[in-house]
Symmetry: C2
Subunit: 457 residues, 2 copies
């Protein structure tokens, strides 16, 4: 019998127990934003992993703890995979909007409803159940190192330092992550990269306090200072003018362009979804998708000075503040971009403009599409779901997940997920379907079975 | 006996009654912002004026009513003066901060405390009492037309149309106003002009709603649109770049420059008061004062887009708004400047930026220093107060007072006031002193006595 077929049958036979396991984990809150239940959830996972024959431990960090686990393969020379997921969840607010209590994990028809059912406890438990299913049906074909983050929903601020400390224990041939879910049309999505992020606050100061605006003839206006500084940073042609900003931008390879073509892009649907009549530079089709995935931004996320409401209030503001976020692409480095920005301001006469890096900077990441783990994941999706997955050579959002981790460790990585389309991520009434959960277990198993054949072929 | 000496004695002899009259008017609230008591106060003034032999009536407008009065001179060929003041007051909030109820007009030592005691009911009653004092001591030497505004504290929106309707009845040889008070050091201030004001709101729009900032690669950011539009409007050298903006700016005459020199300017004190280390262009001395009084501004009064608080919120804002106020100088016209701004935006590729004029535009005004009413007022101040007044050839603030009214009617005008220094204008515990009130009555009488001699000499 085909090994994947054996896993399928095992999963069908043990579905109720596997669902109960997921419910048990969802019922343990683990809100990283408040800290509620996070440590308890980490201990619960160690217990569950031990029951599946996975050596696991809680690893403390400067923030929320990691759960680190190791599942040995049947064969000594099996390939090694690093498997990332996270066990923390978004806060359940607003509570009133939930049809069922968010930590009850109630089963309603084909759905299990609750915070974390998809993001990411459903994903995480699918990974763990796949170990049990493979072990029970012929053995685990790969060596697995599990790294479960306890603060992904808070931007994983402690992860970079922890990865450095654990570097030796995280070595593997490739990395993978389950998180999130399917695209519309029930299409599995596989992503090979993430954007980086740099978030800075600029502030200019004028008088000691707000003044009557008649004084604007004599007293510098900090809002004008920021306008002039910003105008030197990006021009109306949307080109960032910070010297050196584009130096490390790596355009898509031929193979990546081909993936973009295959992934497809519906201009009309995208414009409708975003609520705009046209895109910057009138971009269309694959050019728009390429811009979205391969170009960095300098975005004004916020600008605040004086009073901009209705009615005339003639004030000369004492301070002005702008928040900027830069989406970065490989191989831009957030720390270097911050340095270049400071240099740019100084060189253009804006040494008086104060600059602070806010929030955690995130490095961009990318895995080459010809890495064996990519084919393995695509083929596994075909086998389990009977359809072609959507393979994106990189992503527009920023996060510290599989490809980020892989880039840190110098290995290839893929990012995918098993939740249903429209699974209400970060919103009330988050759910997973029983089918997506059980299929997800098979998907993990299929990846590992194929990896055993191909990763060291 | 000298006529002014006669007035002084009369005022001294009738001080208690004159104070009681002021208290009566202060006790009648007249808050134009809410409308509270405004109509009642107008009727009260008509009654008081009738008692002083002044023909008075309430004149309705599109907003709060005016009080219009006429006091005939002893001689048919006497010069005619238009006398402006306002009877509405600022709201008394915050009520908790008053030591005595704001509409009780309590006498505390030398002070009368209450909303409007200086601004402008003390000024207004001094003008009216001067009519009574002159009539009782030899006759009124000039023909007076009183125009008392009921919405000055709300920007006098109905005044321009009312002045047009009443134009024939407002004819005079010169205009004057009492409002406000003395400068620090108990120095009377006389001003010969006001700034104009244009207040506009610019708005740019992007997507239909705020988006995840990763989309900034494709979707235009309205905050950047406003930054780029603003950067074309004023450059870091503080020059406004709107085509034609400076065309009508009239620099100071030799006589006006001489007045600036005489008025004086203490750089250190001014910088300390405004809380800045240096002025724009490192301006100092009379050059700073000239810039303050004779140059127009384009001021960012407010800029609002997205989120500019602490913590990283990576949003692509759907709209951005900026409020701009332009302080204008003679002979700039607010309506023309608004047209030039719209043309500028269109010509520079910002036809998409929406523009609305907010609040009432105000024309700048200026009276030549060699007009006879100027010397009359200065000399009257010397006679009554025994010191040299501070004569400013124009003012940095904007309002529809004596010089604005005078410019409308094609006559010269002066703006002065009788309240004490630091009289807590627009703030809790506003007051006037008995001395400033009684001296103010003599000041009005002295102006009129001198005007009778010199205005048609």
């Amino acid at each position: 019998m085909d090994r994947l077929e054996g896993v399928r049958r095992y999963v069908d036979d043990h579905a109720e127990a596997m669902i109960a396991d997921l419910q048990r984990v969802v019922r343990q809150p683990s809100v990283s934003a408040t800290g509620e239940g996070v440590a308890e959830c980490a201990r619960l996972l160690v217990e569950i992993m031990a029951g599946l024959g996975i050596e696991a431990e809680v690893v403390e960090t400067d923030g929320q703890p990691l759960v680190l686990g190791r599942a040995r393969a049947e064969r000594e020379d099996a390939p090694a995979l690093l498997v990332y997921c996270h066990y923390d969840v978004q806060p359940p607010d607003p509570l009133d909007a939930w049809e069922y209590p968010p930590f009850e994990a109630r089963r309603v028809g084909d759905r299990i409803v609750g915070r974390g059912t998809t993001d990411a406890k459903g994903n995480l438990m699918a990974l763990l159940q796949a170990v049990g299913a493979l072990r029970a049906t012929g053995g685990l074909p790969v060596l697995l190192t599990f790294l479960f983050d306890g603060e992904e929903e808070s931007g994983s601020p402690s992860l970079p330092a922890a990865v450095e400390r654990l570097r030796a224990r995280l070595q593997a041939d490739a990395a993978m992550a389950f998180d999130g879910g399917f695209d519309a049309g029930d299409i599995p999505r596989i992503s090979l990269g993430t954007s980086g992020l740099l978030f800075v606050q600029l502030r200019a100061r004028g008088a000691a306090h707000d003044l009557h605006s008649a004084r604007a003839r004599l007293v510098p206006n900090p809002a004008w200072r920021l306008v002039w500084a910003l105008a030197t940073m990006k021009t109306p042609d949307e080109r960032v003018q910070i010297e050196g900003f584009y130096d490390r931008v790596r355009p898509p390879t031929e193979a990546e362009r081909a993936l973009l073509e295959r992934a497809g892009w519906d201009d009309e649907a995208q414009r409708r979804a975003l609520g705009v009549e046209r895109f910057i530079d009138d971009l269309q089709g694959i050019d728009a998708l390429e811009r979205l995935l391969y170009s960095p931004t300098c975005n004004i996320a916020g600008f605040s000075a004086g009073y901009a409401g209705e009615g005339s209030k003639t004030v000369l503001p004492a301070t002005a503040t702008v928040n900027l976020d830069f989406r970065l692409v490989c191989d831009q480095d957030p720390e270097e971009i911050a340095r270049l920005l400071r240099q740019h301001l100084d060189r253009h006469g804006f040494a008086d403009v104060e600059m602070r890096v806010l929030g955690g900077s995130i490095e961009p990441s990318r895995t080459p599409p010809d890495a064996p783990i990519v084919d393995v994941t695509v083929e596994a999706a075909r086998q389990v779901y009977g359809r072609e997955p959507r393979l994106l050579p990189t992503g527009d959002a920023s996060g510290r997940e599989a490809t980020w981790l892989a880039n840190r460790l110098g290995i290839p990585g893929v990012q995918t997920g098993i939740g249903p389309p429209a699974w209400r991520g970060h919103a009330p009434n988050e759910f997973i379907t029983v089918r997506h959960y059980l299929d997800g277990i098979c998907f993990a198993a299929a990846i590992w079975l194929l990896a055993a054949e191909r990763l060291r072929a």
